[in-house]
């Protein structure tokens, strides 16, 4: 089942407003995760993989 167009747009807007800018891989996997979550077809391991791809600003830490 394809994603509702309004949810699809909301997802794109939310991803675009992320800072630092997320990687293409993250965008692709996050979108897929949401798609699967909407039909209750996602695994915890999938969440972990996407989570590890999140880019965060760690400047100033060493």
């Amino acid at each position: 089942m394809s994603m509702d167009p309004d949810i699809e747009t909301a997802l794109t807007v939310a991803l675009d407003s992320m800072s630092p800018e997320p990687s293409e891989e993250f965008r692709r996997r996050f979108r897929k995760l949401c798609e699967n979550a909407l039909i209750s077809n996602h695994a915890e391991s999938e969440v972990r993989r996407v989570l590890e791809l999140v880019t965060i600003d760690t400047e100033g830490e060493s």
Binding site: M1, A10, C34, I56
Partner: protein
């Protein structure tokens, strides 16, 4: 995904549900109007339909309230078509203890179809919550709830149907992962906050500084040691040269050198002999030889290792039948292949058999090893005696008044003392021998290998804490993104539903124009051009609810039936006709329970729709309930209320 209701049946329940079977056909009609008088079980049926669709527990008091007579048990079963596959969801009631036992019957399943509980496709199982059921098995209370400022029924309806809660539910998965990560890290360190990280970073820096200091000390000690050793060697050579100047002593010294050379050769040869023997355990001690031979004998007795090999099972998995004669299917083959690794491979068995043979035929002369050790020990004693003799020569010379030799000896003694001290110092700094470390009471601050271990552990703790913190920061960013998606989706869906609701309100609320001005958890109603309208009539409330629900349900990703009780009873004549004409067009299936007074204006709208409509009338004569199909009886039926 499409869900259609094919019918339901009830046994021994109150009202007209003592013995009722409603059949809507294998492929249900788009619209069904069921006419039944008040008190015949409309409300009970609606309640049971909601319970059947969801997995909500039925309280014992509610079960007991369903009781229709003296019978101790009763039942209710709902028949569905889910994406054209038949399902039956049912309850067996026990009125004595108030229990309700659920079951599901599915066609074309390996388990025979009948299973305990509610078993639906996962996607649907999550969707059909009690809140959701109130939408499509329409609860009249909802008409008020969606306009109640204190409630969030409108938002909940949108969120349920578009499954936004599934996306926001990802946050709890993230929390679980963070918790798991923190538990793992807690085994090493409890610091994941910045203050804790600073403490760990300082600890790591401290160990790093100590390591640098110890490395410098070890390097400088090692250099000093080399210098002193060279100095000692030079002094030793000078002493020997000095002694050689004396004719008599020179001869004795040469004889000592010759004997020492011979001894060195003998010691080296014996060393090789002893080390070679040590590598062959049967030659070390008669007891060892006896035990090895005994082990070989036992392996033979017990026939170990097993002759069954992994290859046997891999070969078996390719055959049609097992060695016991039974047929092997795909699952059995998979199981055999999976278990084959537990057995030794052919080459491994061969090696172990060789070892077994070798053990059994083990031979060795332990006496020879003992004799070699004795000889080596003797040679080492001889070497010590030679050294003593050499020192005696030097003493003799000094006693004769050789000041220069005495001075050289003193310098050599100082050098040797320095060497001993420096060697001890270097050992303290560099020994890896744990026994020596304990004996010398060394710590990570005085011993380099211990310091390296300590530094490694501190770096691990810092790394884990840093990773945990990074993981937590990522989780926060991820959850914030999910919140954004949830909020933005809800905003967009609210607006879409609002606009479509207003399109319908233009048609079904004609007596007074109404519109939804805002969806903010609840529906805010306004009169166009006159602002918010907090009070509306019951009929208007119902019109708004229908317009909202049809906009919501007809456009959602799931095609659900719409079941409604007395849909037009509170609407005025104009709105009844509009509702009757407009609303049913939005659903694949609509089931309407009506009373005879709703025929006028509302049910009439369906009379001309032909085969798309099924008319059923439930009547009771002499305590017996009957279901009469067809329009003629439906349009002429006079119930007690109407009479």
């Amino acid at each position: 995904m499409q869900v259609l209701i094919r019918g339901w049946s009830a046994r021994n329940l109150r009202g007209g549900l003592r013995h009722l079977d409603i059949d809507l056909g294998e492929q249900p009609n788009r619209w069904t109007l069921i006419q039944m008088a008040n008190g015949m079980g409309k409300t009970t049926t609606m309640t049971l339909l909601r319970y059947a669709f969801t997995d909500e527990e039925i309280p014992p008091s509610v079960v007991q309230s369903f009781r229709g007579g003296d019978e101790a048990t009763g039942s209710f079963e709902l028949r569905l078509l889910i994406d054209n596959r038949p399902y039956r969801l049912g309850f067996e009631f026990n009125f004595r203890d108030g229990s309700a036992t659920r079951y599901t019957v599915r066609a074309d399943t390996r388990d025979g179809g009948h299973v305990a509980g509610r078993v639906l496709p996962t996607e649907l199982s999550d969707l059909l919550t009690p809140q959701m059921a109130r939408l499509f098995v329409f609860d009249g209370e909802l008409a008020r709830a969606i306009r109640d400022l204190r409630q969030r029924a409108a938002d909940e309806a949108i969120r349920s149907l578009y499954r936004l809660s599934q996306i926001s539910g990802l946050k709890s998965s993230v929390d679980k992962l963070v918790d798991l990560e923190q538990r793992r890290a807690a085994a090493m360190t409890s610091a994941s906050e910045e203050r804790g990280l600073t403490r760990l970073r300082n600890a790591r820096n401290e160990a790093s500084a100590v390591k640098r200091r110890l490395e410098n000390e070890a390097a400088s000690t090692s250099t000093s040691l080399e210098i002193r050793r060279a100095e000692a060697a030079r002094l030793k050579a000078a002493i020997e040269e000095h002694i050689s100047e004396d004719e008599g002593l020179r001869e004795r010294l040469r004889a000592l050198d010759d004997r020492e050379r011979e001894l060195r050769t003998d010691v080296n040869e014996l060393n090789v002999e002893v080390l070679t023997a040590l590598r062959r355990p049967p030659c070390v001690h008669p007891r060892l030889l006896e035990r090895l031979q005994s082990l070989g004998g036992r392996l033979f007795e017990l026939k170990l290792p097993e002759t069954m090999s992994a290859e046997f099972f891999r070969d078996l998995a390719t055959r049609d039948t097992c060695i016991c004669g039974r047929e092997l299917g795909h699952d059995e083959r998979e199981h055999i292949i999976e278990g084959a690794h537990r057995y030794l491979a052919q080459d491994q068995i061969s090696i172990i058999n060789q070892m077994k043979l070798a053990l059994r035929s083990t031979e060795g002369d332990a006496q020879a090893f003992s004799e070699s050790i004795t000889r080596l020990s003797g040679k080492l004693s001889d070497r010590q005696r030679l050294r003593t003799e050499r020192e005696r020569l030097e003493i003799e010379r000094v006693d004769q008044g050789d000041d220069e030799l005495e001075l050289l000896q003193q310098e050599l003694a100082t050098a040797r003392s320095d060497i001993d001290r420096l060697e001890a110092q270097l050992e303290r700094l560099t020994t890896r021998d744990s026994h020596r470390q304990r004996a010398l009471r060394l710590t990570w601050e005085s011993n380099l290998p211990q310091c390296e271990t300590e530094l490694g552990e501190r770096e691990d703790r810092l790394s884990i804490a840093t990773n945990t913190r990074t993981f937590k920061l990522k989780a926060e960013a991820f959850k914030s993104l999910i919140d954004d998606v949830d909020r933005l989706s809800l905003d967009r869906l609210r607006e879409r539903v609002r606009l479509r609701t207003n399109e319908k309100l233009v048609r079904i609320a004609r007596t007074e124009r109404l519109e939804v001005s805002r969806i903010a958890g609840f529906l805010e109603i306004a009169t166009p051009g006159f602002g918010t309208k907090p009070e509306i009539s019951e009929g208007q409330s119902l019109s708004v609810a229908y317009a909202f629900l049809t906009s919501l349900l007809s456009d959602a990703p799931y095609r659900l039936p719409f079941v409604v009780d007395s849909p037009a009873v509170s609407l005025d004549a104009v709105n009844r006709r509009e509702v009757g004409e407009l609303i049913p067009g939005f659903f694949d299936q609509m089931i309407m329970f009506v009373i005879s007074t709703e025929r006028e204006g509302f049910a009439e709208a369906f009379y001309e729709k032909g085969d798309d409509v099924r008319f059923l009338t439930i009547s009771r004569e002499d305590g017996e309930t009957s279901v009469v199909p067809g329009l003629p009886f439906f349009r002429t039926f006079q119930d007690r209320d109407a009479a």
